[in-house]
Amino acid sequence: MKKDWPLWEVFVRSKNGLEHRHFGSLHATDAVMALENARDVYTRRNEGVSIWVVESKYITASNPSENGELFEPAKSKVYRHPTFYKLPDELKHM
């Protein structure tokens, strides 16, 4: 039975003001079940205030074999990091 259940990716917002983050994946037959399963698998220890689920097949991923052209050119460009700014202390989650 289980091999027929599609895979879903789970995103959880841990608290208001934060973004949804990828928590993991699970199996479910439909979106309603995916939400309920996500609630039971990933938020049973009070981890979240909001859940998104999306069927994994709808995620388009970059190809690891193209990592060279995609990511390596940025490695040598340290000046793109905004490390020269002073951030006020009140600013969090940057």
Binding site: L26, H27, A28, V32, M33, E36, N37, V41, R44
Partner: protein, 251 residues
């Protein structure tokens, strides 16, 4: 003990959550899928949490240094007052969901009444449990529809499960001596009042799940009086083993 009726009334509620929790706990590690397994165990833990609150209160009434574990484990079969429905075995997943659903609808109606109890402890326990049980009902109700309106095989199994479990539903609404005494005092909930609402709500979900509502008018009961089905002895053997082997042990 002056509060014998109150004590028995609490057991009449808490033994249901204890035994159903125990039944669901048996499935830990055996659910049909990892996700469903965790969901059932979560429900079991919710039920045990509620049971503990009730038994802590019951132990206070007994006094004499008794604790929740004494109430939970140190009774003989005839002194457990859970309904027959919750002790029925985990025949298959559809059966487990059917049993859960038939209990959840009742359970939520009970807690909604109990939160208005003049006994503030019971009202507080009910108030805390309502959110948990609302989710239980949503979970089991969704599975009723998924299985009832699923494949030909899942439909047939769900129909057979409901046909089989139906006979235990009437007992939910029978009043015990303790029930009557506690209703009189404004503490207890008159469950016979929401029998109609229960069958209406259950029938609506069953219709949506394409399950035929059984017309069977033969009902069986006894659990509320301590007279159980043949399954109860095995449940208690499991449940009580540790306390009987190692008396007064604690986690």
């Amino acid at each position: 003990m002056n509060n014998n009726n109150l004590y028995n009334y609490i057991l009449g509620i808490a033994d249901n959550t204890l035994i159903l929790g125990q039944r669901l706990g048996e499935l830990c590690g055996h659910g049909p899928a990892l996700e469903t397994d965790i969901a059932l165990t979560n429900i079991a833990l919710d039920l045990f949490g509620q049971t503990r609150s009730y038994f802590q209160y019951a132990a206070l009434l007994v006094g004499d240094g008794k604790a929740e574990d004494d109430v939970a484990y140190m009774r003989t079969e005839r002194n457990y007052f859970n309904v027959l429905l919750v002790e029925q075995p985990n025949t298959h997943f559809g059966y487990v969901m059917g049993r859960q659903f038939l209990f959840d609808v009742y359970h939520l109606l009970l807690l909604e009444g109990l939160q208005n109890s003049s006994d503030i402890t019971l009202a507080a326990i009910a108030d805390k449990g309502i959110k948990e049980v609302t989710y239980h009902k949503r979970f089991s109700g969704d599975w009723m529809k998924r299985l009832g309106d699923g494949t030909a095989e899942s439909h047939q199994k769900m129909q057979e499960a409901i046909d089989d479990l139906w006979r235990y539903t009437d007992e939910l609404f029978q009043l015990t001596k303790a029930d009557k005494a506690m209703i009189y005092e404004g503490i207890g909930v008159d469950v016979s009042n929401f029998k109609e609402a229960y069958y209406q709500e259950v029938s609506e979900i069953l219709n949506e799940a394409t399950i035929t509502v059984p017309e069977n008018k033969y009902f069986t009961s006894g659990g509320k009086k301590g007279i159980h089905t043949e399954h109860m002895g095995y449940i208690l053997a499991d449940l009580q083993y540790m306390q009987r082997t190692y008396p007064n042990m604690k986690w």
